[in-house]
Amino acid sequence: MKKSNDHGKYKYGMVIDIDKCTGCGTCMVACAAENNVAVRADQSDKERTITWMRLYKISNGKEFPHTEVSYFPRPCMHCDHHPPCVSVCVATATKLDFNTGIVSQIYTRCIGCRYCQAACPYGARYFNWWDVFPQDKGMDRYLTPEVSPRMRGVVEKCTFCHQRLMGAKTLAYAEDRQEIEEGEYVTACTEACPAQAITFGDLNNPEHEVSKLIKHPFTFRLLERIGTDPKVYYHSSRDWIRKLGDNFLPGEYTPVVNKTWAEEEWSTKPGRDEF
């Protein structure tokens, strides 16, 4: 774990604009369809369903008329340097690719001990409690051919749609190109979001939109202070949302702009992004 991926050529990451997110759930659906995520007839048991991309409903906790509600999409954070889940895995079934920054999972090597789930503070890892697909329902026809379905008893997680990176690389190779362009490799959730709230790209490439967005003062990361170093960033003009991105002792949080949407329609005014 001593190796750092600072010197890796690529470092894929994501910026999710919470102000743009409408909570429609398209990202969750697109992710599940793209990645052959197992479904059950009854998906209401949220403690045991699999949602690589999960939408949390958050609120500022105030009474009407000051109530504000927002949605918080949560894929795997693809923690950098020393992801909590990687070093604990007994069978080396999960690893951080130092050249892409993607934390992957080898399903056929996972023994299902679930230590990684215990170590992950984001709840981004999911165990297959049931056999994958209902038999004889014809659901296999809906599978993405590039993604292997998982067997019962193993842990799975968001892979930043790794198969899409493979596809983009193959295309570049076929066209005799050394590099893939920005936008050639994006995750299914990025592509599907109707509000275009998700931006995906190479954090190591200063030309990519994500590299610019992460420098914005409105941008923050989830549970940054425990040191997981996530590659998924969030963006919001609302302080109460940024405050919900981490745990703070009283008086610790310093607001960027101490305003809410309800108080002033500041965030919709031109110039919000140029702050």
Binding site: V90, A91, Q117, R225, N247, L249
Partner: protein, 412 residues
């Protein structure tokens, strides 16, 4: 009926009485067998474990019985390496209890993993950075050591001893037992520590995370110390339970008192370190993560009372009782203190496993609680049944208490 198999010069109950005694334990085993079958056949959906409670009752059971079974390696260490001859009167039951605990724990782990057939991947694709790998390696190796330590005890059976080759083999094995006791101590030290390390290294879970020395979080050392503090007490409890059911004295008081005294010192030392550990954590990791001690206990059934129970009622109190010679010589107080000590260690493991997972780290996530299913209880209870069966059979057919004849002369 089975009298030719019973040890010389001791009194045992009738075969029928023994048969009826085994029935409840066999029933527990049957319950566990059915549960294991369901879990292996239908999968872990038979349990109430979830993506939140990835570790649950079985891991609590595992860690608890491994800590309680530490009496085996520690008594072995004291007897063979430190030369405490008095403890030869209790080393055999300690080894058997250790064997039961470790084999039971490994059997449970075999069901607990989602892909039991891939269990060997731990050794084949071992990730040397994982504390769980060290635990698996050492537990497996130590179970083998325990089996080797158990063999000469089995070979002391009256019928087996009549076979010359086995007798010589058993005797020779006994002669080199110090080597195995030392190996066992080394292996146990590391896996007891790694079991603690497993939780201390989860740096993204502020409730479990600990700082430490080099690669070892403080929990590494605390788990070793707590295991050797409670292991001897568990051995005392099992011996006392056997004495209760056999209605006779089996181990001289001097051996029990020596174990209790050693346990007292270790427990006291552990409590001092544990207090420092709690303080260091409360004023270090917790505020650094933006949290307060109270924030962990705001919701749900897992309140501060668990910490109070762990530290005061099941920690400091038994330490005081065991430390006071007059108190530990009183049978009732001795047993109470041993019970409290063992409960405290189980509580400590419970806090590190269940409470760690129940507390959400993300501020907008919710608190969860968990109740095991009958299948989960079945597997846990099967280990209890297996323990009672094996220990009863060992007591009946093997001379595991060397002073039994001396303490209970048969007058005819």
């Amino acid at each position: 009926m089975d009298s030719p198999l019973l040890p010389h010069g001791v009194k045992r109950c009738s075969t029928w009485a023994f048969f009826f005694w085994t029935l409840p334990w066999l029933a527990l085993l049957a319950w566990g067998g059915l549960s294991a079958f369901l879990c292996l056949w239908k999968g872990l959906n038979q349990t109430n474990m979830s993506n939140i409670f990835a570790f649950a009752l079985w891991i609590v059971f595992d860690l608890a019985i491994i800590a309680l079974g530490a009496g085996a390696f520690f008594t072995g260490f004291l007897t063979y390496v430190m030369g405490q001859k008095e403890l030869k009167n209790i080393i055999k039951p300690a080894v058997i209890i250790g064997f039961i605990c470790y084999s039971g724990a490994i059997a449970m782990l075999g069901i607990d993993i989602g892909q039991p057939i891939r269990g060997w991947f731990i050794f084949w694709h071992a990730n040397i950075h994982s504390m769980l790998v060290e635990v698996s390696f050492c537990i497996t190796a130590y179970l083998m050591v325990l089996a080797i330590e158990f063999i000469p005890i089995i070979l002391e059976n009256r019928k087996l001893e009549e076979i010359k080759e086995l007798r010589i083999f058993g005797h020779n094995l006994h002669e080199i037992m110090a080597v195995f006791a030392a190996t066992g101590t080394f292996l146990s030290f590391f896996h007891q520590g790694s079991l603690g390390g497993m939780f201390g290294v989860m740096y993204a879970r502020p409730f479990a995370a600990r700082e430490g020395f080099y690669i070892w979080p403080w929990t590494f050392f605390l788990f070793v110390l707590s295991a050797i503090a409670c292991g001897p007490c568990f051995t005392i409890l099992c011996t006392k339970l056997t004495e209760f059911f056999a209605r006779k004295k089996l181990v001289p008081d001097s051996a029990i008192q020596l174990l209790a005294k050693i346990s007292a010192w270790l427990l006291s030392f552990y409590m001092v370190l544990k207090i420092f550990d709690y303080l260091g954590w409360m004023y270090g990791i917790v505020p650094r993560s933006g949290l307060t001690f109270e924030s962990f206990f705001r919701e749900g059934p897992y309140g501060v009372y668990l910490v109070v129970a762990e530290m005061i009622f099941c920690g400091i109190l038994p330490a005081i009782i065991l430390m006071t010679p007059k108190a530990r010589q009183n049978q009732g107080l001795l047993i109470t203190a041993c019970l409290l000590n063992c409960t405290g260690i189980v509580l400590n493991r419970f806090l590190f496993i269940i409470v760690t997972l129940a507390i959400p780290v993300m501020p907008f996530d919710r608190f969860w609680s968990y109740l095991p299913t009958w299948q989960e209880w079945g597997i846990g209870m099967a280990v209890v049944g297996y323990g009672f069966l094996l220990f009863s059979a060992a007591y009946r057919y093997l001379p595991i208490f060397p002073k039994e004849r001396e303490l209970n002369p048969i007058t005819e």
